[in-house]
Symmetry: C2
Subunit: 122 residues, 2 copies
């Protein structure tokens, strides 16, 4: 019994040596966690609608955003906060109004790849 706690089944097709190699060379959990968290941001209809709208108009105030995507001001604000915290959007204030816009080069690429993927699939 040398395989200890890593032993879930007796199959171990690729062999202990390769298994341990893989286990060691995997990116640290933290990186993988961060990647998952990043994708999670995109994994919500409301946020995707916001992102999409900001692609089209470049800059929008909360109110107009809310009307355009048809979601309550409160819900939009809540989601904008998440997008802000992830640094995916930036904002500027002008009087009472707050204008939001996209704040990341990668977003467009990633978003478009996904869109392509979905569209091709059909």
């Amino acid at each position: 019994m040398k395989k200890e706690e890593t032993d879930v089944c007796k199959n171990n097709v690729i062999g202990d040596i390769r298994i341990n190699e893989l286990r060691k060379n995997l990116p640290e959990d933290e990186l993988l966690f961060d990647i998952a968290e990043f994708f999670k941001i995109f994994g919500d209809s409301t946020r995707i609608k916001i992102i999409n709208a900001l692609f089209c108009e470049n800059e929008l105030c909360v109110c107009d955003l809310s009307v355009i995507i048809g979601i309550s001001q409160s819900a939009v604000s809540h989601q904008l906060r998440i997008l802000r915290q992830s640094k995916l959007v930036k904002y500027r204030k002008e009087g009472k109004t707050v204008f939001y816009s996209l704040d990341d080069e990668h977003i467009k690429q990633i978003y478009n790849l996904a869109k392509e993927h979905i569209t091709e699939e059909k």
Copy 2:
């Protein structure tokens, strides 16, 4: 009062005409929903670990996968089902053993873009 139900606030910075233009030209909700669903698949640590492991080894059985990423066989199986249903992985059976591998060209690109994004950010 012509702005009717689309009227959430009086701000309407970009104007009704442009608002309605945007509302009409937005991709249908369904497409945006599908895109969000697609990202949702990547938005989980366990699934990202699976995807990452399959990048490294190309093909892995459930058991070895489970050992490599350090997550129970049951949880891995459940997540593999989700990945299967989204057609992100394919599998082949060999006796008792089931081998999984990635089944999509786009995944690598999207995954790598996200990884880049996260790494650059630091």
